[in-house]
Symmetry: C2
Subunit: 383 residues, 2 copies
């Protein structure tokens, strides 16, 4: 294992690239999809299963963990890796996004954000310095700057103000983080749907010399074309030698499109959340197991998958489990979905090495339309 | 594998015995604990895990399965074993007990019981013949006669009436089942807390020549001493050459006490249900993970267990998962509890072979009191 935090690009295909992020706790093969382990667990999965699927890194949510069980408690217990039995790399977010989406009575000022816990109503203050402190207590390998995520729709003035505040917080996080061999702090490009703001944000962050750069504030309801346009705007301003992380994305189609445009890392609750709501992501598209048409179907989700959840259980059985509210239904569908996401990333990495990304992407998209899936409309409810 | 259904006693220690029930789908090592797979799933467990713990057989509930997904549907899909990916022996109950405890608007007469589904309110009729038909459609290796389980407290007259009705239903089930090589139908001894009725029931059932005999209507709230007295009353009237099954039992202490008195088979929701409610059964007694005293405890549930759920996750982490309502908490505690139950049965089987059951039982009971557990009172809430 590497003693320091390094990123190397080992292959390119157009703007897309594949590579390795190395750090003491392991290697992240990029492009990488990071399963979300919000409260120190990738929901409904044993950690060994997550690793076996090919996930090299999981994401932990600072907001959830600071409230319960508490960062100091996790530190006293030996850190998040030990706490959740995941000895491999962990990326933590800054807490900012969930403060905005989950907490009550938020108050943002220059110093940080004051909010009430959604768990017990207690008041907490999250400053850039405290966010870095918490992520350090958790022991995260990759940490994120605190940023302000504006509520949509946002006025141009609000978007600009939040972007500039996020830049000042980036500086404070960068200072608080200092130099930590083997660990990394990433900056987050903000600026909404405004190309000029996005470019300004990217440039300023690059001047601060982060170990990696995220693009935030996307996949929050805007059309995919807008998201892709922002990626295309920002990527040329990010150093080719640093990993690029698109936060909170996305659907399988989003992943293919963003990898093609040079993104290296992703996280999203979609495969895990959908798995708890009866929805399967497969090579042949989305399948809504709640649909009565599966009640007598002996076919598995995908006989070509190497995941037992996808190849060894009938749709009829999965339908039964989902309709009966059985935990095993959530376990199997989460497993199958994460397997599909990891298989998808593996096939994209290979395609980049082989310089066949366009063909492979076209084949992947053709499979989605091959007809095994349910109508998109009914499936979308769980995503 | 055996082509026929056979039972052989391979060792005894006093009244206790160990042996093997052989049938085409596998061997059940007795004394055996059967995890409950109510709706075609041992809740929160992958089937491979259940087998790996040493369970040779699981129980399916006819009442649940006839209502959802339906016996004819399961048959069309290839039977319950294939449906739930459990190729090993399955025992199904008759549906009678759950009709009494879960359904609405029951009406019992000589022909059978009419009831409304708790799922959708539809009216169903369960007769002895239909119960056997359903269990056959499911493909159960061991099937149970339909019996009437009286609601407690029951008058002596009601207890006697229900016992006699159960005997008549036993005859009808016996006739409906006929001879099925490789499969077995068990009769169920009823008679409440009345020794004379219990003996009469046992004698009449033995005359009908079942492949095995269950003792029903116990562990329904009576003191353990009453249950043990009924076992001691009935066992001498059951043939030594047939397996004896104590239905719906029980706590680890119940298992030790009943094995000592000659019982070969058990089923109970306790380890699985408790696991979903934050309660662990361990070698050192019951541990209520909801208790705040575990919040900072780095110790695992039981470092001497071979189950990862018991030896590799801290009590602090389990406490966190339980408090956060995380599915992984239920998965881990169910796994640990079933591991403990299977380990307990394995140690009892070995003790019988070694003729050390009294000493081993005393050591097991001493461990329960060794102090690692929470106070019994607070833990009992989930059992």
């Amino acid at each position: 294992m590497s003693e320091s935090f390094t990123f190397s690009v080992t292959g390119t295909d157009g703007t897309a690239r594949t590579g390795e992020i190395r750090m003491p706790r392991g290697v992240i093969r990029t492009p990488a999809f990071m399963p979300v382990g919000t409260a120190a667990t990738v929901k409904a999965m044993y950690p060994e299963q997550v690793k076996a699927l090919g996930a090299d890194v999981v994401l932990g949510n600072t907001y959830h963990l600071m409230l319960r069980p508490g960062a100091e408690r996790v530190a006293a217990l030996g850190g998040l890796h030990k706490f959740m039995n995941w000895p491999y790399p962990i990326l933590t977010d800054s807490g900012g996004f969930q403060v905005m989406s989950l907490s009550k009575l938020r108050k943002i000022d220059e110093s940080g954000v004051t909010f009430q816990s959604h768990v017990d109503g207690a008041t907490h203050v999250l400053t850039p310095e405290r966010s870095i402190e918490i992520q350090g207590l958790l022991g995260a390998d990759i940490q994120m700057q605190l940023d302000e995520c504006v509520k949509l729709p946002a006025s141009p003035q609000d978007t600009e103000r939040a972007m500039r505040l996020s830049l000042r917080w980036a500086e404070r996080c960068r200072r608080a983080f200092g130099e930590q061999p083997g660990k990394a702090l990433f900056g987050i490009v903000q600026g909404g749907e405004d190309r000029a703001l996005r470019i300004e944000s990217a440039r300023a962050l690059v001047d601060m010399d982060f170990k990696g750069y995220a693009i935030g504030g996307l996949a929050v309801g805007e059309p995919q074309a807008t998201m892709l346009a922002m990626i295309e705007t920002v990527v040329p301003y990010l150093p080719t030698t640093k990993p690029r992380y698109l936060m909170g994305v996305g659907t399988p189609d989003d992943l293919v499109a963003a990898v093609t445009r040079g993104i290296d890392m992703f996280d999203c609750v979609m495969p895990t959340r959908a798995g708890r709501h009866g929805l399967a992501y497969t090579r042949f598209g989305k399948i809504n197991l709640k649909n009565a048409r599966h009640a007598d179907d002996p076919a598995p989700l995908d006989p070509t998958s190497s995941c037992p959840a996808a190849n060894s259980y009938s749709r009829a059985y999965l339908h039964h489990l989902v309709k009966s509210g059985e935990i095993l239904g959530m376990m199997l569908l989460t497993w199958a979905n994460l397997a599909y996401y990891q298989d998808l990333m593996a096939s994209l990495r290979k395609a980049i090495v082989d310089n066949t990304l366009a063909d492979v992407s076209a084949a992947i998209r053709a499979d989605w339309g091959a007809g095994a899936a349910d109508a998109p409309g009914e499936a979308d409810q769980a995503s």
